[in-house]
Amino acid sequence: MTTAAWMPSEPAAALLEQRTQRVDALARESFSLHLEAPGAALLAVGGYGRRRLFPHSDVDLLVLTARPLSTPRERDRAGEFLRRLWDAGLRASHSVRTIEECCTLQPGNLELTVSLLDHRPLAGDASLLGEFESRWRRFLDNRRGEITRLICTAARARHARFQRTIFHLEPDVKEGPGGLRDLQTAEWLSQLSGKAVAADLENRLEPLASVRVFLHQAHGRDNNVLDFDSQDAAARSGLLGAGDAASFMREWYRNASAVLRAAERVIEDCEWRERSRVSVWFDRRRRLSTAEFTVSRDLVFLRNPGQLEHDADLPLRLFLFTARHGLAPARETEARLEHSAARWAAERTGRRAGASFWRELLSLPHAAGAVRAMRSTGHLAALLPEWGRIDHLVVPDFYHRFTVDEHTIVALEVLEDLCSETVPPRRFFSELWEECGRDQWQLRLALLLHDTGKGSGRDHTEESHAIARAFLEREGFAEAERAAVLFLIDKHLLLSEAMQSRDVASEDVHHWLAAETGTADRLRLLALLTYADISAVGAGRMTAWRAAQLSSLYRTVHARLETGLDEPASNGAELLAILSPAARALLAGLPARYRWGRAPEDFEHDARLLEQARAERAAVRLSFADGAWHAVVAAADHVRLFADLAGTLSSFGMEIVQCEAFTHQDGFAVDSFRFSDPHRTLELNPPEQERLSQTLLRAAAGKVSAADLLRRRAAPRLPSRAARIQPAITFFEDLSGHATVVEVVAPDRPALLHDLAAAISAEGCDIRLVRVDTRAHKAIDVFYVTRDGAPLDLQRQDSLRGALERVCGAGPAGPR
């Protein structure tokens, strides 16, 4: 049967109806010629039963019989019936069933029951049809709950096959999320629950159907994949009113998004109704409910939706709530937010969410889910207008699977999924993610912005940098934060390109990557960004092979960075030109590591501090920034200086999270400590700040012993998580030409740093450089140690290892 050529300007629904009518006539004619007899009837089922018969689609027919066809003559007649349809050019997809078979929920054959939901009698024995209708209604009444549950499960499984996203670059318009199958699912579930289909859903049929008709007609077969060529062709033909492929696809995603949301809303309702009363009673997450939000069935509802009208910060609080608890807004909540998003955005014009909002949101454990919700309700584009540039953006290539915006959100989800990775080599990245601790938000923000420059036609990294810089400045991020995020955006392709085109076994490449990244912290964030970026390209892209390559590259460059800690500084002429003579002298006397992570104004501050120390023997600068306290002490270096300063801070109850110690060529030390004040002592008692500064000065001058100060403090109690960390002490002889490098990994505890440094001093060793980091409950301390100006010999290493093991409470010696 041929179909007149359809033009995109014509309604697709009319075409489907016309085709259905013509096939009805053919099917009835063939039935009357070959199968018409008492005890036989013909039903249209599936898409054909719904009167939506697409060109080149199968014609779903069910021959209803009073008893199974048993004689060869009966089978021959059925064969003749079908042959006539095939000869007419129809692809008949048929089955022959009894009423009993139709009204049985057959395991593994949900399709039969579902296709019968759309059945339509065409011809045959009226009494048989009447009996079928009566039995079918009873069957539905009895098995309604079970059929509903099976349809919901099948829909969830189908969504999972497509990674639960509509944003595939080449979507399947029938089976993919947001496609025709979801529209039908909503219709089936509405029919089973006796509710009318939502009006907005009915309006979505036409755009979806027109794209499918276009595809079937263009390919001359039942092809439902909207590939790149078809996207171009559809846009050229003016389908969906689009002028180019990008606008056409945006329109497609808009429709698919609406269909998916409507279908999920119906599925959620059905699943909720089908849950047992006991499971509702034990809905433990209900206790997370607050005065503003109700938590039910793991979904967030607004207690007072009217509050959206006058409380502009309510959506932000909702997104923070979802990010904190890993809950999704209910479809109903999403619909309300989406409905009010445009007005909300207009009212907020000129007002920014601010750096503190982004910092908090992206530090929370389930930030990706919140960002996804913000994207679907339109709030992400309102807070970050630059997002609009990549919203639903298709960049045709045969490597990526998702649109640019979806790729970005999937990358954020990859990071969260890392927490559950237990199999090497992916587990390695899971540990790196945990090590990131409070820097996690910077990585997430960089990921959120790293591809915003795509689609501009220019170098997307440069474009993303410009967009990100404007955003970071507008939102009020600190300069160091801006630099950290922009670094990640600038270098987001560095490691993947190195793996692809450089000899990663070459020392030159390690040196180059170490120079490009600068610090171990940056390298860690960059490795994780690379991992997430590659993984989010599509399922299966981050193979174990590639993960092993990336983890090995990370470890090698990390070791190279540790090696370079005490390399002499080679200061750029540009930098020197803007510094004062004192700052230039400071840099000339300190190792290169000192420069990393510091801005020129830090050099000036430290240079003044060093001058003051030369005059007064010691000087201290205490400040608070970015949620942590920062103390810099310049003093004449002596054996126990570093240990005493660390111990002094611990004696005040401060928790050291990061510190560095450097010795200037002139014999003065510049030690910096970043620490948290868990009891807010310094904040609530400003005089304590002065007392801490004075005590640090006295410790630096050797007038007070940290051991004495610490004796007054109560014995520390280890958190339970720390108990799982196995202490490890590693000596590296070949990392530095001047010193032995000792890395201590141990469960963190108050005064650990003081005890380690004191143990090193007690062994008669000099600490030339320290790099200390605390990641959750894990302390990672690297000491560059010498004795009499030279690296330690093996005997001295063994002795020091024993002393450090006693401090860490380690059993046998760590790996070497």
């Binding site: 793996m499 450089r502 092979w545 092993a548 390559q549 090995s552 090698t556 070791a559 590693t730």
Partner: protein, 112 residues
């Protein structure tokens, strides 16, 4: 007919593909593999843990060709994949008894 199997450094894959394309070899199968020859592996230390990296990432290229093209293809692969260092990889040439194109049942060199 011959089968050429080349195990090369992953970062040389693009160079090799490009060189093969220049001599008219478009069909090939590429697999991400791990292994080592005399290069053996090495140890990496991170945060006090030792990682034994004894199976190194490599790329494997498989090409089926007529016997008379073997030398040209092998020398092209070797030239493009060579860095002169341990770990550059190896090339194997194997005899192939038969080739069948599934679509139309072509046999022998016509199926390549």
């Amino acid at each position: 007919m011959k089968k050429i199997e080349a195990i090369i450094q992953p970062f040389k894959l693009e160079d090799v593909k490009e060189a093969l394309k220049k001599i008219g070899v478009d069909g090939m199968t590429i697999t991400e593999v791990r292994g080592h020859g005399r290069q053996k592996g090495h140890k990496e230390v991170y945060r006090g843990h030792e990682y034994q990296v004894d199976l190194l990432p490599k790329a494997k290229i498989e090409i089926f060709c007529r016997a008379e093209r073997v030398e040209e293809i092998v020398s092209t692969i070797a030239g493009a994949a060579r860095t002169g260092k341990i770990g550059d990889g190896k090339i194997f040439v194997l005899a192939v008894e038969e080739a069948i194109r599934i679509r139309n049942d072509d046999r022998g060199v016509d199926a390549i």
